[in-house]
Symmetry: C2
Subunit: 143 residues, 2 copies
DNA sequence: TTGAGATTGAGACATAATCTCAAATATAGA
DNA sequence: TCTATATTTGAGATTATGTCTCAATCTCAA
């Protein structure tokens, strides 16, 4: 998904909820899509501050959360106590594995993960199954 | 695993690291193994305070973390911003699914999950693969 | 242009977890 | 048993992430 598509989807999402597509939201969206890797809300905020863009922390947090709700951002949890986000540039679904020593993160594909989880979860009669997986280990360099 | 086995394993673990098996650690261990469900560090602490046992919050946090490191406690993350623990009473490996509305938690078995993840992760040459999965949805009652 | 309603920013607040360090405790050796 | 040494504990301060408040500002439809 590129930034242009994301803007369209986000505008529709906001409209459908009676919310406004504002300048700060556009700025945060573009900044998020120009990032090349995972970022936390605070990282994105200071990144923008460095570039002379002043958007408040609260707005960045709120906007990232609503962009996730709109489906144009993925969240990733490395277990460090804060959420990371990433713009889904590639269509391919992937998970992440992080090194417990140096923090290096790699992307991996786990085949049929979604299908496996959905069929296991179906037995509980839960609807709208979502999952969030955190994989870690010791990377080759740190062994 | 019962409390007796856990104590043995924990003692060995501590010894191998030059650490001491102390009264507070034993108390926390027994309390953890007498719990019938997931609990957070703070929940366990107040549970003990109710029972007239005064162990400080810091000690509970430290002990639970080291018990996890020793492999006698599992941690579970429901995404509520704090870690839950559970004593592995049954041998059977399971995951958890929690309702986003009412918070109800059920246990589910996801077949071959470990195997699937390990084989996907093997390609990265990471060692000591661990994972932590968080599954959620809307339970039948809340639909 | 205007008014109703949504948004923003700054900082206060909430919460989980960690850190500090003096006092207490455990263990090994005498 | 006593002592020396190292580890652990407790109480509260501290950090870190994220949320909330509310007055001022902005957006958009009419």
């Amino acid at each position: 998904m590129n930034s242009e598509n994301a803007i369209k989807i986000y505008k529709d999402f906001l409209k459908s909820k009676g919310l406004l597509y504002t300048q700060p939201r556009e700025i945060v969206l573009k900044e998020a899509f120009s990032a090349n890797w995972h970022f936390s809300a605070d990282e994105l905020t200071s990144q923008m501050h460095k570039n002379g863009i002043n958007i408040s922390r609260a707005t960045v947090y709120r906007t990232l959360a609503s962009m996730k709700e709109a489906g144009i951002l993925n969240s990733v949890d490395f277990g460090h106590g804060h959420i990371h986000y990433e713009a889904p540039k590639t269509k391919k679904h992937h998970e992440h594995i992080s090194c417990e020593k140096c923090g290096t993160v790699c992307e991996i594909e786990v085949e049929n993960l979604t299908k496996t989880i959905n069929s296991a979860a179906a037995k509980t009669r839960f609807k709208n199954i979502k999952y969030n997986i955190r994989i870690s280990g010791i990377c080759e360099k740190c062994t």
